[in-house]
């Protein structure tokens, strides 16, 4: 039992959310105070977990035995580098979301359910990260799942929200079952629920593979890996936007945490088999590409962002898969690089996806719609939201000098540096996944040009967009914090990477900063990011940013005529300025080329109808309807659903037999049990 400042602060943050969950609902009749208290306590918890995460990474954590839990198994809590890193991720998004919620929830009628479940949801995530035995882990895991179910169905008056919530609950519990199976496998070998015992136990390759597969499918379902992602695009859009930000920003990351905890920590990189990494890499590549391809065809803003979460989870998995492959082949330094790249993308995605969902929430707040086809020109009505949203768009599109680029660059470097791993299949899969990453990144840029262009640029396509108002300063500050972090993480990666580097130190016993590796990454050299050494690859975001600002400034100062205002006129539009706002390219038309190129993947359901009332040659009205449904839902979920229903129908007949039939079942069961165990 070693206690430290970091551990105590993390316990304090858990305590704060527990207080929030108890105190805030009591103030049911004073909505203003209730909202203020909720946001204040949650924000405080966010600050505490940031502090705990940071100090835990820098100065080490500790462990504690709580005096409650099961009679024979008190709760083990422990803060190590891995947990501390994810606690930092949680805190860095919870704080801005709390500030944002103060504005966002202003007009919320039913605040009390949120006041109960939001803190419980955050408590669940913190608990998972801190837990040090399988029982505690599962307890907090289920707390997270169930409370987020209530948050998803917060607006339960709409039937589609209830349906989304049901699918979410179903799949979350399937995932929970698989994870429990994975822990059971580990328990069978180690004979204990405590992580410390599990860590020491030696698994046979077969059992290790079983545990890996169970954990992979369990956490993969929760993280939204294709094809287990069915719940995600339904559940994220219907939750309140601040909750969607948390779910997409950190809940998916907690699943990644669980996966790393079981595979890297409890089983250890010595147990890895070559196909584990290849499988993770393949899952990551397919998630990244299919996630972004599906996102491109959406016109519901939040649903689009939800598909992008699938893409980014795929990118994280590409990094993890590379690291697993390299660790198996004993290239530990490169494995550490891959792991750091994956973790860096984890925190980056938490920040920019949180920001994007908050921005979508701001748009929803002031227009009342999530439909992109009704937007347009919001940059004139909501200039600050637009600017902050643009930061997130550039970050997620992996463009310099923002943070998304740094992590994708690190993943590319890992893939490039990977030596030949033996076998043509493995040799090919690494560069192929790098190519898929490039494709996903470029398609993401396409998608966010579409999002920003359709929502914020051009003319308003409807009255709701024409009458939108800028959101209040709480929400703007809530969005400004992650935007600033995106820039900082993008410009100064050489400062942040040594902090993350403690995680590979824990898991691989090697690090990029250690002297043995020639101090590849040096915190004092904040100017340069050189993953292995400068001759291999280097990137200097500060110089590039400075160069762009300098050159752009000089060009502007030199070219801009002083003292005159620019003449404004009607748009030219090739000599036809009298166009209607609905003649602009919208979300559906923007993605038409891709829909045509990938017809076989999308299998779009298109209907075209031209009305010609007066004369067969005179078209008065053209109607075009296109619907792109998720192939996984169509070809995987629906058949499973049909089979389940069919089986249920078959069993239903059995239910209606008389008492004798039931007695026969009981008798047969007893006989069977006797035969098996006697």
């Amino acid at each position: 039992m070693t206690q430290s400042l970091a551990l105590n602060v993390s316990l304090l943050s858990c305590l704060t959310v527990i207080i929030a969950a108890i105190a805030a609902p009591m103030l049911q009749h004073q909505r203003t105070i209730q909202r203020a208290l909720l946001c204040c306590l949650v924000g405080l918890a966010g600050i505490f977990s940031c502090v705990a995460g940071f100090t835990g990474l820098m100065y080490g954590g500790g462990s504690i035995l709580l005096p409650f839990g099961l009679p024979w198994l008190p709760m083990h809590l422990r803060l190590d580098a891995l947990g501390a890193f994810f606690l930092l991720v949680i805190g860095s998004l919870v704080l801005p979301v709390a500030i944002y919620s103060q504005g966002y929830l202003r007009h919320e009628k039913r605040l009390t359910p949120l006041a109960i479940f939001l803190p419980l949801f955050i408590l669940g995530m913190m608990g998972v990260v801190l837990s040090d035995d399988a029982f505690t882990f599962m307890l907090f895991w289920e707390l997270m799942s169930v409370s987020s179910y209530f948050l998803v169905t917060h607006e339960h008056q709409h039937p589609e929200n209830r349906k989304a919530g049901f699918i979410y609950l179903l799949m979350a519990h399937m995932a929970g079952l698989l994870i429990m199976g994975s822990f059971a496998t580990l328990y069978a070998t180690s004979g204990s629920f405590e992580f410390s015992t599990m860590r020491d136990a030696q698994l046979s390759p077969l059992w290790a593979s079983i545990a890996f597969l169970l954990a992979g499918f369990g956490f993969g379902t929760k993280a939204g890996v294709v094809p287990m992602h069915g719940w995600l695009p339904d559940a994220h859009p219907v939750a309140p936007s601040n909750v969607s930000a948390l779910m997409s920003g950190i809940m998916l990351k907690v699943a990644i945490f669980g996966f790393i905890r079981i595979t890297w920590d409890l089983m250890g990189s010595g147990d890895f088999q070559w196909w584990w990494g290849a499988l993770v890499l393949a899952a990551g590549s397919s998630s990244a590409v299919s996630g972004v391809l599906m996102a491109l065809q959406q016109h519901d803003l939040k649903r689009l962002l939800a598909y992008h979460s699938i893409e980014n989870i795929g990118i994280i998995l590409i990094g993890l898969g590379l690291a697993m492959l390299l660790a198996h082949f004993d290239h530990n330094t490169l494995a550490a690089l891959g792991l750091i790249a994956a973790l860096y993308h984890t925190i980056n995605h938490a920040l920019f996806k949180g920001l994007l969902f908050m921005g979508a929430g701001a748009v929803l707040h002031s227009t009342g719609s999530r439909n992109m086809e009704a937007m347009g020109g919001l940059i004139h009505r909501m200039p600050w939201t637009a600017a902050l949203f643009l930061v997130a768009c550039i970050s997620i599109s992996a463009l310099p000098p923002f943070n998304g680029f740094v992590s994708e660059w690190l993943i590319f470097q890992t893939a490039l540096m990977a030596p030949q791993l033996g076998g043509a299949l493995l040799t090919a899969i690494v560069p192929f996944s790098a190519a898929m990453l490039a494709l996903a990144g470029a398609l993401a840029a396409t998608c966010f040009v579409k999002v920003f262009g359709v929502v914020f640029l051009g003319h308003a396509r409807s009255n709701i967009a024409a009458n939108a108002k800028e959101v209040d300063s709480w929400m703007l500050v809530g969005m400004a914090i992650p935007a600033l972090c995106c820039l900082l993480l993008g410009v100064l990666p050489a400062i942040f990477i040594p902090i993350i580097d403690h995680v590979p130190q824990l898991l691989l016993h090697t690090s990029l900063t250690s002297a043995a590796n020639g101090q590849a990454i040096d915190a004092t050299q904040w100017l340069w990011l050189t993953p292995i050494d400068a001759a291999h690859a280097s990137y200097s975001a500060p110089i590039i940013l400075f160069g762009i600002l300098l050159l752009g400034g000089v060009a502007f100062w030199w070219l801009h005529p002083k003292g005159t205002t620019i003449r404004r006129s009607k748009m030219w539009s090739c000599g036809n300025p009298h166009t209607h706002a609905r003649m602009q390219y919208n979300a559906t038309s923007f993605s038409q080329p891709l829909r045509r190129i990938f017809t076989d993947l999308y299998q779009p359901d298109e209907h075209e109808h031209a009305e010609r009332h007066e004369h067969p040659l005179l078209t008065t009205r053209v109607k075009y309807v296109v619907h792109v449904s998720d192939m996984a839902v169509k070809h995987l979920y629906q058949p499973i659903g049909h089979v389940t229903l069919w089986v249920a129908k078959a069993i239903r007949h059995e239910h209606q037999r008389g008492i004798h039939a039931y007695l026969t079942y009981t008798f047969a069961t007893v006989l069977l049990l006797l035969a098996v165990f006697a």
Binding site: G423, A424, L425, A428, D600
Partner: protein, 225 residues
């Protein structure tokens, strides 16, 4: 010519052969399929000549010349005549879309590399590297036969399989014995002639060159009887 330089040239030619196999798969027009097929024949002849020169096996010169005449000139010319007479030079009708075909082709290539690698290491011939590529070419030509509708493309696919096998033979053993090679060459020639005769016959009988139509007609016949 130093051994390593010859090896480089052979490797380069192996790479080109693989490229041609992909190009054959990706063509849209019958005539360009034929052009690529002729190019493959010429390349094969050149490879045989280079191997002959560098390994000093003079028998290979004869097979190089034979390959040049037969696969580079005669067979393409015969097929060209068939195509012109039957008026089938327009579109090659694939069964699958081209993107999927190429993905399968890449997978097949990888599979071939994966399988052949362990064998290659044991060889000490300077042509050993081309074994995997030759195998990949055989598989790709078979893929071409599977994915195309027209009978003529299937014949070209068949001939391309033979080309690749010849390449594999050069790669594996510096060429087969001359007698065997001459025999195979004549077999191929006769086969091509018979195919040609069949094309005309089929055309006269069924009025179409598509495999599906042929099947349907045969089935109808069965029912009629």
């Amino acid at each position: 010519m130093s051994a390593s330089f010859a090896q480089q040239i052979i490797d380069g030619m192996a790479a080109l052969t693989l490229l041609i196999s992909f190009a054959l798969l990706a063509q849209h027009r019958m005539l360009s399929v034929l052009h690529w097929f002729a190019a493959q024949g010429l390349l094969l002849a050149a490879t045989a000549a280079v191997v002959a020169y560098s390994s000093g096996e003079h028998e290979l010169y004869i097979s190089a010349i034979m390959t040049f005449l037969l696969k580079g000139l005669l067979l393409p010319w015969m097929l060209w005549r068939v195509i012109r007479k039957l008026h089938v030079h327009r579109e090659v009708e694939p069964l699958m879309n081209s993107g999927l075909t190429v993905i399968i082709a890449i997978t097949v290539t990888l599979f071939a590399f994966h399988i052949i690698q362990p064998i290659e290491v044991t060889s000490d011939l300077m042509t050993r590297n081309s074994m995997a590529i030759a195998t990949a070419c055989v598989l790709l030509s078979m893929l071409m036969m599977i994915t195309r509708k027209k009978a003529i493309t299937q014949v070209i696919g068949f001939l391309a399989v033979e080309n690749s096998l010849f390449f594999a033979a050069i790669g594996a053993t510096n060429g087969m014995p001359l007698v065997v090679e001459i025999g195979i060459a004549f077999d191929v020639l006769i086969a091509a002639l018979i195919f040609g005769l069949f094309f005309f016959q089929i055309r006269n009988t069924f009025d179409s060159m598509e495999i599906d139509t042929l099947n349907a007609s045969l089935i109808h016949k069965d029912e009629d009887e």
